[in-house]
């Protein structure tokens, strides 16, 4: 299989990705080099093991959740388009974008989409609520073995108490957004 990264990515594809994600031409080719260097199997897709090979990601307490965000429901491989789409959430907002008109589709890295992305890191079962269990799971990932179950439980309870407005003992997206303001 070829080793020349940029020649495998056609111009039309680059244009499509540019429109969808807002990355510039050179950023896309650069990230494509990155994608192919991570793709040890050289089959045009990344698996979870390919991500795990990045040491700085492997020691990140939330590493597994972040990796999961790249893979669509039930799939084990992600192609370059999917890779770029997820990365686009964290693309920094350029100055010339701030004055763009509001009529076009919302860019992937808008504030609302970024918050939605963060919300989904918590909300595993995608029911648009962060339940106590889901909160506990993420907390456990972040603190490791250093905090007891009871203490962790009380942190979770307190957080839900403070955020919950409609009394359903879970945090909805609207309540989540309000917290961040």
């Amino acid at each position: 299989m070829g080793s020349r990264a940029s020649t495998l990515l056609r111009d039309e594809e680059i244009e499509e990705i540019k429109k969808e994600t807002g990355f510039s031409h050179s950023q896309i080719t650069r990230l494509y080099s990155r994608f192919t260097s991570l793709d040890k199997g050289e089959n045009g897709t990344l698996s979870r093991e390919d991500f795990q090979r990045i040491p700085e990601l492997a020691i990140n307490p939330l590493g597994d959740r972040i990796i999961n965000a790249f893979f669509p429901e039930g799939e084990d491989q992600v192609n370059f388009r999917g890779f770029m789409r997820t990365l686009a959430h964290f693309r920094p907002i350029e100055d010339n974008e701030k004055s763009k008109d509001q009529n076009g589709p919302e860019p992937l890295n808008s504030r609302s989409n970024k918050l939605h992305f963060a919300f989904r890191l918590y909300d595993l079962d995608k029911d648009d609520k962060i339940s106590r269990d889901e909160l506990l799971q993420v907390l456990r990932m972040m603190v490791g073995v250093n905090i007891s179950d009871e203490q962790l439980g009380s942190i979770a309870d307190r957080t839900i108490q403070e955020a919950d407005q409609d009394g359903d003992s879970a945090i909805s997206f609207a309540e989540f957004v309000k917290l961040r303001c």
Binding site: R4, A5, S6, T7, S24, H25, S26, Q27, T29, R30, L31, S33, R34, S37, L38, F51, Q52, R53, I54, P55, E56, L57, A58, I59, N60, P61, L62, G63, I66, L87, F90, F117, A118, L121, Y122, V138, L139, M142, V143, G144, V145, N146, I147, Q151, S154, I155, R158, T159, E162, A163, I171, F176, L179, R180, C181
Partner: protein, 415 residues
């Protein structure tokens, strides 16, 4: 004779450099200057600009000692930064160049631009494959033959000063020949600091060529992995006349055994200095990774050596997972040249209260500073192994310390 060779080499280098600068200019003209500048920035600064804030600054902010739903954003940001570009995996593949050096293997970002450039490139290919390569292969076969014959002959001699002197000369000559046929052009600096008998020579590792380069300017006992094939043949020949310490890779894990053998060797002041590469594996010459503390625990004088290759003429890094030894040697022979600077640094000794890890880091910093490379605390073994779980646990512990205040759990602040 050596100086004349050096002068010719420098002249050759200047010609090559001016050609490659012209080539890059052609490319820049073809690909609109702006885009090329942007590309250059990306390559030199990395794809992303990282904010170097610590966990404490980002997570704690104004409040101290409580958990906030937004803490997740710090970790996800760090995660995404690592996915886009990380410090470690980039050291395990060849360095990217800003200007093209007319080798198609480094031409990743540049496209076909003009027919003049293509003509120059094709001429380059003809020169490299039809002229330089056959010359080098011929020289290589001759030198290997010479090495095997000479060591067999000298091995028959009775042990004594004559045998030592002869074997040293043979090894140095063969190494020098080997360097030449793998297109090496080496500049040595500060030769007054060359390692003495009974010392340990420590250097950063980029390829097996490092050994040849150092051996062409001095005699060393080598500690390293036993290879098979052609490399194994060369190793066995060298073993006939000098005391080398060879290991299987599995044995290297037995650190006590390694230390014992090294200690015995340097205790004998008549034995040649030991050459060790504490990184344990080949790194791509842009940074120096973790030095394993084994060689720094045995005592004795450490002679640091910095080896820096000039990437503009050829890529010296051996990606052992991608290329076999023969493919690698072929790549070397078909580059323009492997230009290399070797600095001998003043000897260093472990201080009384210093522990081995601290000493190793001190030596590492000196080598990196001389060679103009960055310093990384990561283990070069991550090329093949997974990262240790304990590092993740450290991150989790750090987070806990921020979130918990005085052993009690603070209130989450909500505004």
């Amino acid at each position: 004779m050596r100086q004349r060779a050096q002068k010719e080499v420098s002249k050759g280098e200047e010609v090559c450099l001016s050609i490659s600068q012209w080539a890059t200019l052609q490319i820049e003209k073809g690909v609109k200057k702006q885009k090329a500048l942007a590309l250059e920035n990306l390559i030199s600064n990395g794809i992303i600009q990282r904010e170097e804030t610590s966990m404490e600054e980002e997570v704690a902010g104004q409040r101290q000692g409580c958990f906030n739903l937004a803490d997740i954003l710090y970790f996800s940001k760090k995660g995404f930064e690592a996915i886009a570009d990380d410090e470690v995996t980039r050291r395990f593949s060849s360095e990217e160049l800003i200007s093209w050096n007319l080798l198609s293997r480094t031409n990743v970002n540049f496209h076909h631009v003009s027919w003049q450039l293509t003509v120059v490139w094709i001429t380059g290919i003809l020169i490299r494959y039809c002229l330089l390569m056959p010359l080098r292969i011929g020289l290589a076969s001759f030198s290997i033959l010479f090495l095997v014959l000479a060591t067999t002959v000298i091995g028959q001699f009775p042990n004594g000063r004559v045998k030592c002197w002869l074997s040293n000369q043979v090894q140095m000559t063969c190494a020098a020949l080997g360097v030449r046929c793998l297109s090496g052009a080496v500049h040595f600096h500060n030769r007054e600091n060359r390692p003495q008998k009974g010392g340990i020579c420590v250097a950063n590792h980029t390829s097996p060529l490092d050994v040849l380069i150092l051996a062409s300017d001095g005699c060393y006992s080598l500690v390293g992995q036993a290879h098979g094939g052609l490399l194994g043949l060369i190793q066995k020949s060298c073993m006939k006349t000098t005391q080398h310490v060879l290991f299987e890779r599995s044995e290297m894990k037995d650190r006590h055994l390694v230390r014992k053998k090294i200690r015995e060797h340097i205790a004998d002041k008549t034995k040649l200095p030991i050459l060790i590469f504490p990184e344990g594996t080949c790194i791509n010459n842009t940074s120096v990774m973790m030095f394993k503390k084994g060689s720094f625990e045995v005592g004795g004088t450490i002679h640091p050596v910095a080896i820096k290759y000039d990437p503009r003429f050829g890529d010296a890094f051996w990606n052992s997972m991608k290329y076999s030894v023969m493919t690698y040697a072929f790549k070397l022979m078909t580059s323009w040249a492997i230009v290399c600077n070797v600095w001998y640094l003043p000897p260093m000794v472990k201080e009384e209260e210093e522990d081995a890890v601290h000493f190793a880091n001190r030596v590492k910093a000196v080598i990196a500073a001389q060679g103009g490379m960055s310093v990384l605390p990561w283990d070069g073994g991550l090329k093949r192994k997974k990262v240790k779980e304990s590092l993740k646990e450290e991150q989790q512990k750090k987070y806990c310390q921020i979130v918990i205040e005085n052993g009690t759990v603070g209130n989450g602040n909500v505004h």
